[in-house]
Symmetry: C2
Subunit: 320 residues, 2 copies
């Protein structure tokens, strides 16, 4: 199957919102008047971001999900994306399943595939996603203020727990493993919550490299510090709700520094608590307060009694 | 060197035109009122699109050039780009040179780096480029009309000639090799010409996979045919002007199906000849008429006397 036939067969659909989609030198996008275009690019490499045995349908889902999660962190509404794909070969069954997972999530978010590139090479997936946000209304990392509550969405740590199970460092009951594996392989980008938090949250980020590591970016760009209740956070491990008797120390590690969560961490003033909770309710997304933003620089991790924990956690860094 | 330090050191500069650049979950772009955003993504893989010994400065240039060439083919003005980079390791000398080549070309076109992603993996460069074009004013592949002249910009075939020299299938005098190698490693995207052809050309495409292969996309999308003067085209081999005594058959092959040229092929009505030539002059870009668009489907390759050539040329296809 040639490159053009491959694109035609699996990745070409008529554009709906965009003036021009797949098949020309460029795609054309037209943000509505008064809107800015939010743009994010991510690259997923086999062996680094996913296992060679990954189910292609779930992989298609995840490749787009991690990008939609960046739009969510800005409060942007998904619009379109491009796909650049390096493939070891043109395996039709694999491509069909990959496209199915990818386009199902795209359709669920009204995000259309408008262009891209395919080539032969080691399996590598590059997606650039576009969303719309009212000019000046994007949630940024730089807006957190002292006194803000610190919130996170959903559950944390389960994707890393699944990875550790795959690595053999932990043994899980089957239902716990299956649930954690779904979190790793099919994360749900918090797009609706991000949009609902516009005008409410002062700052937001998506948790892809671990809660504390990503929170560090917010603190640096906002020139503030934070205090995080490690026990309130640790309670967010989904596996715990399934009855997995996790050691407390392991729970803290997974939740604070696990990575691959694709939840939102955000800061909002205390008088916006009801509004944050309403945003969570209307979008069907659990939201939990786990700390506060401080004027004093640095990150303080405390237990439920407010006692500082002596340990240091570091976000996962692909080049460390 | 960590991922974040790497980005900070080599790829972060203050945004100039974009509301938000590198360092948040998304970059923000704001096309001017009445403008559409042209978007194109390309992925370059080591061993496929460039040799492992490629000079990183030239590689940085080329990675962006092939994307700018897509904007040129739409008549779009470059605005910004994102860079997704998989690297086997964080080699500072290599990255510094790569960034230098990349950002020098970006600066020459007023195209700013607004975001991206770095990860460890087999060397793979994914760029998504953004340009502005007046709504409805983009040059498309679908606008060619019977009776249009068929034009190409610049010279053709030399990049492939250099590749063949690297492969050892042809031996070139040193000055010819050096010139051809520059065409392969540092193509000049025809951005100014593309913009100047807005409102003049009916259709355009960039020649990345070989003249005939790419022309085929225009014919298919415009539902027309074409007649190409193979000898007028063959005269565009830059190496010929340097005195390389190329066999006529080899010249035709290189020019018609060589690939990697990043010139524009475009169709314009005969009464626009003076305007096309003026566009070439004002932008310092040679433009040459090499054929015409026909109502009859199919591609007819003829010699200087109009006699059909019996051979078939196929554009380079990464999956053939």
């Amino acid at each position: 199957m040639g490159e053009f036939e491959l694109i035609e067969r699996f990745f070409t659909r008529a554009p709906r919102r965009s003036p021009l989609g797949v098949g020309d030198d460029c795609a054309l996008l037209q943000p509505r008047p008064g809107m800015q275009l939010a743009v994010s690019s991510d690259m997923l490499v086999e062996g680094r971001h996913f296992l060679s045995t990954a189910d292609p349908r779930r992989l298609g889902h995840k490749a787009l999900a991690v990008n939609l999660s960046d739009l969510a962190a800005c409060g942007a509404e998904p619009l379109a994306f491009t796909l650049a794909l390096a493939l070891p070969g043109a395996d039709e069954a694999w491509l069909g399943a990959f496209a199915e997972g990818l386009l199902a999530l795209a359709d669920a978010h009204g995000c259309e595939l408008v262009g891209g590139d395919t080539t032969r090479g080691p399996l590598c997936i590059g997606i650039t996603v576009f969303g719309e946000v009212p000019a000046g209304g994007a949630l940024l990392r730089s807006g957190a203020r002292p006194g803000d509550d610190l919130w996170v969405s959903g559950t944390l740590g389960d994707a890393r727990l699944a990875l550790e199970a795959f690595r053999g460092t932990v043994s899980l009951p089957q239902p716990v493993f299956e649930a954690a594996r779904l979190r790793m392989e099919q994360p749900s980008p918090r797009v609706a919550l991000g949009m609902a938090l516009r005008g409410i949250a002062n700052a937001a980020i998506d948790i892809s490299d671990g809660l504390l590591g990503d929170l560090g970016h917010v603190l640096r760009r906002s020139a503030v510090g934070a205090t995080v209740d490690a026990d309130a956070a640790a309670a967010l491990l989904g596996a715990r709700a399934l009855g997995w008797p996790a050691p407390p120390e392991a729970m803290r590690d997974l939740v604070l520094a696990g990575g691959d969560d694709y939840e939102l961490a955000f800061a909002a003033p205390p008088d916006a608590r009801a509004a944050v909770e309403a945003a969570g309710r209307t979008t069907g997304t659990p939201v939990t307060r786990i700390g506060r933003i401080d004027a004093e620089a640095g990150l303080r991790i405390v237990d439920a009694q407010g006692v500082p924990l002596g340990r240091d956690w570091q976000g996962f860094d692909h080049f460390r």
